[in-house]
Symmetry: C2
Subunit: 452 residues, 2 copies
Amino acid sequence: MSEATRVLLDESRIPRNWYNILADLPAPPPPPLHPGTRQPVGPDDLAPLFPAELIGQEVCTDRFVPIPDGVRDVYRLWRPTPLIRARRLERSLGTPARIYYKYEGGSPSGSHKPNTAVPQAYYNAREGVRRLTTETGAGQWGSSLAFACAQYGLECEVWMVRASYDQKPHRRSLMRVYGATVHASPSPETVSGSKILAEDPDSPGSLGIAISEAVEVAAAAADTRYALGSVLNHVLLHQTVIGEEAIEQLAAFGEVPDLIVGCTGGGSNFAGLVFPFLREKLAGRMDPVIRAVEPEACPSLTRGVYAYDFGDAAGLTPLLKMHTLGHGFVPDPIHAGGLRYHGMSPLISHLYELGLFEAVAKGQTECFEAGLRFARTEGIVPAPEPTHALAETVAEALRCRETGEPKVILTALCGHGHFDLNAYDRHLAGEMEDFALPQERIDTALEELPVT
Amino acid sequence: MSEATRVLLDESRIPRNWYNILADLPAPPPPPLHPGTRQPVGPDDLAPLFPAELIGQEVCTDRFVPIPDGVRDVYRLWRPTPLIRARRLERSLGTPARIYYKYEGGSPSGSHKPNTAVPQAYYNAREGVRRLTTETGAGQWGSSLAFACAQYGLECEVWMVRASYDQKPHRRSLMRVYGATVHASPSPETVSGSKILAEDPDSPGSLGIAISEAVEVAAAAADTRYALGSVLNHVLLHQTVIGEEAIEQLAAFGEVPDLIVGCTGGGSNFAGLVFPFLREKLAGRMDPVIRAVEPEACPSLTRGVYAYDFGDAAGLTPLLKMHTLGHGFVPDPIHAGGLRYHGMSPLISHLYELGLFEAVAKGQTECFEAGLRFARTEGIVPAPEPTHALAETVAEALRCRETGEPKVILTALCGHGHFDLNAYDRHLAGEMEDFALPQERIDTALEELPVT
């Protein structure tokens, strides 16, 4: 194995294809259903919201989807990203395990989200769309889409959950720096927003409401489309550049992974890291254990059910067959905002049903403790979301210290935590809570599952 | 010239030596003087504050100073940094100029400061020091030193100007994440702080006061030393890794620079980029124009005098021969906190007197406008300090559009602006002020220059 700490790749090594795992599955996942007819959703149903190319990618079964030059050209600004061996973390744990992390925080918005924001903006621009709308919670996705829209001359309009809009002004500012228009949601600009404001002028908003507003505006204007930052097949597809690069870099280190660990919210970071390795595993070229880590406060894989449910809180989207806690489930306010989603990508849910990976859940105190240890050893302060994967990585490395196994562990550090320092402050002050999640809260939310 | 956008170097290409420009000058700069005796300061005067190795580097005349393996090993976490061609910025300006920027914002603390924080912590740890003290304004330096201390097991105690402590909590949090103790300055922990608090319990503090506190604590404890983030020769020396890497990377692009532009506060970023190129220029191997850019609100090179003055506001440090606006000069509150220093590094001042580079001053509105254009084209949001160099880069590129000259321009992007988004917000809201600096404010401050 190599003595290196970082393996960098030249820009000529940016992948030329996204990897589509649908091509390698025995069966595709169950299709999304129209919320009215309960029939499978067709391309025509989606055309008001997405450009044709992305609708095509949603159902495509080609193993490899070529990445257009116009997308690779923007990826070049920060890709390939480094694969780094966490030698100092290993040393602090006294473990024989060898820990590698793929670092996505060097992107313009500081997370992995531009990997899909860029192609989504590209295809929309190429099909003559003038404006994109989207929703955002803490702002990771909104700022990534704003950056991507600036690259292709698209207007970008973001509905940001009011609670975050008021409490997290920095990512709101970042969207504006990139030229986006940012609305606090609920907003008076839409019918759905106005309705809620009429009932409660002080509504803190929710991701579900923000989705409704962004979708409403996109559906109503011929030159406007909508963009989503996770869950859908085409979004997961775009993220596979992470894993493709990591395969080449891990080989350059002279390593074969024993364990791959990723955090899961909607699933795009996990899919991006893991799908290319799953291809290698399914083909018998390696045999890593693959493990998803979700928050105890929002455990869709470990405590949810596999059923058709709405993707949003308001019940406006197509019905998706997925692991879900119920679309009415409101997770406790953990700091990893990107993991507070009641469901799980249908494609990832399908792979879980096929037994292709394991899942565990973590409380946020353990995660922030791992984040602190990582910052003090490796230097990079991790965003709250990837601290979940780091917590499991640390736990496994400590198990290796007991057993003496020199396991090769790979994880993804999907974003830096420079926007999340107030959360670390609370942890350092001993004010971080782990929320116990009583089963009855899940049961109650699951009572509202739609009948199919 | 290469078609590449980014040139990355393998970690084996981290420089093995720092470059010491003192070796290539016809005469050294005038020495620092003891504030009491007005005699040149000797090593014994500095021993209570700095470890022997750094005192030696301060007066060393060897052309190359070897970088210890224990330092290169930590540099490996983020060095070599990329050199990037700003193709999208060029396109948006319609310029025939070719613009390259060396990006230092990918370091753990998001700026170039760890380049010297790491060796300073290393030498102190090697000489048995247990704790380092320092001051910080907005926190770039304090967070870098905190990171470096965590790497070598040193305690780190930072006095942070109270105004920033209250208004910029995120960098304060970053220091704590790295394990540092952070005091609001003035603090009751020191004699100098207590004295000021007794007179004014609500004092907002100043860098001068914070320096006094950090120096007082270091001088009083045998196991404690003090660390400075700019101005001194050894600090500038450590930053030359920036320029050394850039020379190799620019050659890989197949380019020879016509113009090199850097922003100047205390001078460490400018020196780091420029000194290695000055060596090449002095040896006749290339002939770039070299240009420093400072804020109009704090124009030590363009409107200061070259004289002996104190390094701090309180008049406690040795007297330094430098370009200064007077140690009592208080710059208007521009957002580029790192450029709000009344003086200029003595070594850089000496080079300016020798006619080795030019200097210009910029108002902050023009700088933020350049920063916005950069973010929307190149993706990275620049910190307010390097927007000064970007503003001059943009101005030169537009001159090239007029003249048709395909100049090769090199600049350094010494930090990202993810901690500075409120400043961009103010700019977008049209609330950014350019402060006119009346000559009499400078004249009044210069009346207090010490007699030598």
